[in-house]
């Protein structure tokens, strides 16, 4: 049978020393190095993309947190007030006083620059109207020095942030080259400068014509109410479903069907959930459009599979001996699960829930279809219940709205919104990691 013993095998390999590489080994080792290099290159590319992404978010988003303000100390006397109120063009009179005051101030600082009322209006808006409004409302301030903090126009803001450049600027009714000289002079005198923009964080969305006034605060509130809905629906439902599937479900068709459904729902595109929300919650059940309640319901359905999958994993990780121990002292199956298994699995369940919530928080596509994008969230909801039912926006929807607007000044806001969104996501993920580290139990 074995003829090998009859003829000695012809040696194919020359006897070589181990310490010297032959040509073939050299070639193979070179291939090995190349292959490793591909791997390193792949990882480097991935990390490079991450770095570029992070860089563009930070670079383009940070300016959204500052705004250009004009600081002017201005005194209006009672006589001036009376005189202005007696004139036909009242706001013009106020502008006149302001310009005179500003000129004096610049002379005192030894800055030589010429300007007129139109230029001032292009830089800091209709100053006359602002002043008149202020002094009519606060007549007691007359004769005293008042520190006015005015927002510069969005073009001037853009000039400060590098969005508007001298070389490419064409004189228009919004801004001229001469204005920029004035702005430079004012900046040198410390009158115009950048300041942190609380309005962006706390404010509501503005109209399409006022990028400077747009803030993300209202949509943060919208997202918050949506997440409340998601948390209070998906956590109990998800945990209940997981307990049933992991602890009680008999092996039958219905159970199989539920399992298949869950794993498939986890991979259904989010836009399809949007269609579901539109058809069922809005068309069929007539729930209000653009309401955080509806957004929350849709996101709940989307998040459920994630939560169920992670909850089942945590339940599975609790060793059967715990269940047996409870049953052994006469507890019912239900008691053993609710008194022993569930508390032990809780850290894992919470971690999974937070991660699911973080996913839901960043989800945009379904919100487009239930009308959270067309809506301009101009204000905060006026109560707890109306927080759920009144139309509002949500963070990612707000970001999309800004990105879709024609005025490029909104892009900066969109990037800024992304920073806020990512801060929320990061916080949630860090909490999840801490929870896992702190309470993770290895059996």
């Amino acid at each position: 049978m074995t003829d090998a013993s009859m003829d000695t095998p012809r040696p194919r390999r020359a006897k070589t020393s181990l310490v010297s590489e032959d040509a073939r080994t050299k070639k193979r080792n070179a291939a090995e190095k190349r292959f490793q290099a591909y791997g390193i290159a792949a990882i480097a590319t991935g990390l490079f993309f991450l770095a570029v992404l992070a860089f563009s978010i930070v670079r383009s988003g940070l300016p959204a947190f500052t705004t250009t303000v004009v600081d002017v100390n201005f005194t209006l006397t009672q006589e001036q007030f009376d005189e202005a109120e007696g004139q036909l063009f009242k706001t013009k009179a106020y502008s006149g006083y302001f310009i005179t005051a500003l000129q004096k101030k610049l002379e005192a600082e030894n800055v030589q620059v010429a300007f007129d009322e139109a230029a001032i209006e292009r830089i800091m808006g209709k100053i006359g109207g602002t002043l008149r409004e202020y002094y009519t409302a606060n007549p007691d301030q007359l004769g005293q020095e008042v520190a006015f903090k005015l927002n510069a126009s969005s073009r001037v803001d853009g000039y400060f942030k590098g969005r508007v450049q001298r070389e490419t600027l064409q004189d228009s009714r919004f801004l001229t080259l001469a204005d920029l000289d004035l702005v430079d002079a004012l900046a040198e005198a410390g009158i115009v400068h950048s300041a942190f923009d609380w309005g962006f964080i706390t404010g509501a969305d503005s109209g399409v014509d006022n990028p400077g006034g747009a803030g993300i605060g209202a949509s943060v509130v919208g997202s918050f109410f949506m997440m409340l809905v998601v948390l209070f629906l998906s956590l109990p439902i998800g945990v209940a479903a997981s307990i049933y599937l992991e602890e009680f479900a008999p092996q039958n068709r219905w159970t199989d069907m539920i399992e298949v459904n869950i794993s498939n729902l986890a991979a259904v595109p989010s836009i399809v959930f949007g269609i579901l929300g539109l058809a069922v919650f809005i068309q069929f059940m007539h729930l209000p459009q653009s309401a955080p309640l509806v957004g929350g319901l849709v996101l709940t359905l989307m998040t459920l599979p994630t939560i169920i999958i992670s909850t089942r994993a945590s339940l599975k990780a609790v060793p059967p001996s715990i269940r047996d121990a409870a049953l052994g002292v006469g507890a019912s199956k239900m008691q053993s699960v609710f008194h022993h298994v569930l508390p032990l699995a809780m850290p894992g369940i919470l971690t999974g829930t937070i991660i699911g919530l973080a996913q839901a928080l960043g989800e945009t596509a379904p919100l487009l279809l239930i009308g959270m994008v067309g809506f301009v969230a101009r204000g905060y909801p006026d109560g707890f219940i109306s927080g759920f039912t009144d139309p509002n926006s949500a963070m990612p929807a707000q970001i999309y709205t800004w990105a879709a607007r024609a005025d490029q000044a909104f892009y900066e806001k969109a990037w800024g919104g992304i920073i806020i969104l990512l801060i929320f996501l990061l916080t949630m993920n860090i909490i999840a990691i801490i929870l896992r580290r702190r309470f993770e139990r290895r059996w």
Binding site: M1, T2, S5, P9, S17, L18, E21, R24
Partner: protein, 265 residues
Amino acid sequence: MYDAPHTERDVDQQDIKISARKVQVYYGTTHAIKDVDCDIEDKTVTAFIGPSGCGKSTFLRCLNRMNDTIDVCRVEGDISIDGEDIYDKRVDPVQLRAKVGMVFQKPNPFPKSIYDNIAYGPRIHGLAKSKADLDEIVEKSLRRGAIWDEVKDRLDAPGTGLSGGQQQRLCIARAIATEPEVLLMDEPCSALDPIATSQVEELIDELRQDYSVVIVTHSMQQAARVSQKTAFFHLGNLVEFGDTGKIFTNPVDSRTESYITGRIG
């Protein structure tokens, strides 16, 4: 048919193939092999026996530097093959492993055809000049692995579809195909039934004509059947090393005696 086992063959004047001096192996902080000295002869079957966790497999894996693939493992001391230190910096473990083949505890055919399983080694080492040449190597290796007749009609079938014993012989044939000089076998029969075991044992005896074979085994009977030299390991120490007949009939060390009489292990 196979000849009767050649256990009575004269084993005295053989060349030393592998020599190990003061070998220490650490897994992290665990000292797994302590001060092992051992000479393994050419054209001989050497058996490593000992209780579980005694370090016999670990020592075997040092001989072709398979331990390199484990991060926490550290080897000290000298091991040389034909007088060349295999832990020398200039030695490429890949070249070494071509010279020192290995067969594992569980049969591990690649999820490829039987033909490709055998041809894998010759292909990566460039042993075949042509397709016909490769066919010849495959046939010869399968014949030497004593499995040719069983698989010659289905060389395209996946190797994973064979029975356990066939798989293990396939793995041996696969190791032979690269024409190693030493063949290491790590409990090659532990996953096999008695019939498959005896087939593999016959094969091992067959292979002794051309190779130095080192076999780790749990079974003392197996060691007695196939080997000419036996080394007894205990708690990381090489307790006793000598002719198989002598170890089993007249051991020097009391621990060896306890082990072969079944009191420890």
